[in-house]
């Protein structure tokens, strides 16, 4: 019984690690991103600059203080610091998802 449980558990964890490997991606700064011609599901962190909006999209730049990249997002940006996930193509980041960084050191 103990052995069976242990084997089943180990198999599940191996599956979880496999899933994790395929669900994770490296997090880049704008300086890193501009060196790459194309990338899918890339995660970029930085400060939001020069926000403009049309009726459908928010167009802005993500900056790390050294470089900045143009980004397009269908939705609202509610923070000055973000973690954006999207596709990098033709020197534009097409953002699928944005998480706001709440800019606090609060540790609750």
């Amino acid at each position: 019984m103990v052995r069976k449980v242990f084997i089943a558990f180990s198999a599940f964890i191996a599956l979880a690690i496999f899933t994790l490997y395929h669900s994770s991606s490296s997090s880049l700064s704008p300086s890193d991103l501009i060196k790459i011609p194309k990338a899918e599901n890339v995660v970029v962190q930085g400060k939001v600059e020069n926000v403009t909006r049309n009726s459908e999209y928010t167009i802005f730049y993500i900056s790390d203080g050294v470089s900045k990249v143009k980004a397009i997002y269908k939705g609202e940006i509610s923070s000055t610091e973000i973690i954006a996930t999207g596709t990098w193509e033709n020197e534009v980041l097409y953002v699928k998802e944005i998480l706001s960084k709440c800019h606090t050191e609060y540790g609750g």
């Binding site: 558990f9 599940f12 994790l20 669900s23 991606s25 960084k101 606090t104 050191e105 609060y106």
Partner: protein
């Protein structure tokens, strides 16, 4: 300077208390003095926290921590909350919670060798956190005294800030009691229940807060800090369900509390919470190793196999994802593929045994929580729509009625009124001098759907809005409330 002296004295008395409690394991005569030293440590900690509060309430911006987290225009209640809104202050508050709970615990039950042993472990832990707090120094003076402070981040200026952090820290403090009690062989079921209730309330309040905050990823965004706060909760839940090896989960819960502190404070992870890099953060790693010693010494693989396998798997899945975040970004699809099936198995097992369950209320709550959370994770929808002045998103017809602006001491507020066939939305944009814009969403709730609307921009006849349709979120709140109520009712037995 006085504040640091008070805090240092608290640390010194706590260390002295630890040494005497340790000594009293062999000679109980020392326990009385150790107890008095603990109270002295607590008194100095309270004094230092009151002093910091005084600096906040009198707008003393010569203190760096006050300068960074407060502002003259902030309401008094926000200035009180600012006490725990930053890293150093929240650490000080954690010390307060630790010493407060330890002072109650020392007076509860028999004062015997077991209690002395538990108190030795507990005061060693509180001393370590106090020492880190002394080095973090929330009382650091600035060379220039500013007329005004930077202020608390506007996103944190919500009623949840008053309750969520203190409850979480008290939960963590009770987890330390659970660890030390188990280590010394004191009965701990009541302690585990209190810790579970506090952590559950803390997590649910945090989820509610994140849900109401645009851009925080909803009620549960699988953010590393959220995940790490889930780990001690899962460990205590596993503790209740384990047939053997309960102590493993009791020890694990405090290790995860310290792991949360490491994740939050070391600056190693990307999160919706943004962290400053702190060399002291790595001290928590040393604490994790020290706290893991009993597990390494006492734990057997057989215990694990007879323990709560589903919860163990949940813990490993969340831990793997959170640790991987040290190096890479983890997509939420990982948690949906791995965690949700485990959650489903747990719910099916509850349904199978619901009639004989002694915790019906809690388990009904878990079922509702599962239905609500999976509905939100898989079926939430979002659309951006221009109202000129009418527009339609999904089956919701929206009409931009008016907008008005007004100001208070802190901010300028732009408030729009949007009529719809589901109700009236009144989203706001708050403009702060040194923090930019913050959007306050407006919600229309029905039993099965929440309509969640954020204002992007407005002009005379045009408003651009973002509409979310969130299915069954009410089940999350109702399920969580039943779980908490069920455990509170059991506490009385």
């Amino acid at each position: 300077m006085i504040g640091l002296v008070l805090l240092s004295l608290s640390a010194v008395f706590s260390i002295a208390s630890f040494l005497l409690f340790f000594r009293s394991i062999k000679n109980l005569r020392f326990a009385t003095i150790a107890e008095i030293l603990l109270y002295a440590s607590f008194s100095f900690c309270v004094s230092s926290i009151l002093l910091l509060l005084h600096y906040f309430l009198t707008d003393d911006f010569s203190i760096r921590y006050v300068y960074l987290n407060s502002q003259r225009e902030m309401d008094v209640w926000l200035k009180i909350c600012a006490l725990w809104s930053g890293k150093e202050g929240s650490l000080l508050f954690w010390n307060f919670a630790n010493l407060f709970v330890a002072s109650i615990f020392v007076n509860h039950g028999a004062k015997d060798v077991k209690k002395a042993k538990a108190m030795a472990i507990l005061t060693a832990f509180t001393s370590a956190i106090l020492i880190i707090s002394v080095f973090a120094n929330p009382f650091e003076q600035m060379q220039i005294k500013h007329f005004n402070g930077v202020g608390m981040n506007p996103i944190l200026r919500t009623p949840e800030m008053a309750f969520h952090p203190p409850i979480v820290f008290f939960g963590y403090a009770v987890v330390a009691i659970l660890y030390s009690s188990h280590f010394s062989g004191i009965q701990t079921r009541g302690v585990a229940r209190i810790a579970w209730v506090l952590l559950t309330i803390g997590i649910v309040l945090g989820g509610f807060w994140a849900y109401r905050t645009l851009g925080w990823g909803g009620f549960w965004g699988w953010d590393p800090v959220e995940n790490s706060s889930l780990l001690p909760w899962l460990a205590i839940t596993a503790y209740f369900h384990a047939k053997r090896g309960k102590e493993f989960f009791a020890y694990l819960s405090l290790i995860f509390v310290v792991f949360t502190a490491f994740v939050t404070r070391s600056g190693v992870l990307s999160s919706v919470h943004s962290f400053g890099e702190d060399p002291l953060g790595f001290t928590y790693l040393a604490m994790i190793f020290a706290l893991a010693i009993p597990i390494a010494r006492r734990w057997k693989i057989e215990d694990f196999c007879y323990s709560s396998i589903i919860f163990s798997a949940m813990i490993l899945v969340v831990l793997l994802g959170t640790v991987t975040n040290l190096f890479r970004n983890v997509d939420r699809s990982y948690y949906l593929i791995t965690f949700v099936p485990l959650f489903l198995i747990a719910v099916l097992s509850i349904l199978y045994r619901i009639k004989e369950s002694g915790r019906k209320l809690i388990h009904i709550g878990v079922i509702l929580l599962f239905l609500g959370s999976t509905s939100v994770w898989f079926f939430e929808q979002k659309e951006v729509v221009s109202l000129n002045p009418e527009g339609k998103a999904f089956d919701v017809e929206l009409l931009y009625s008016e907008s008005k602006s007004f100001s208070d001491a802190e901010k300028l507020v732009l408030k729009a009124k949007i009529l719809s066939n589901v109700g009236i939305f009144e989203p706001e944009i708050h403009f702060y001098d040194n923090w930019g814009q913050v959007r306050k969403v407006s919600m229309v709730s029905t039993p099965f759907l929440d309509y969640y609307l954020a204002l992007i921009s407005t002009s005379e006849n045009l408003a651009i809005v973002e509409l979310y349709i969130v299915p069954m979120i009410s089940f999350v709140w109702l399920g969580s409330a039943l779980m908490i109520l069920g455990e509170i009712l059991r506490l009385r037995k």
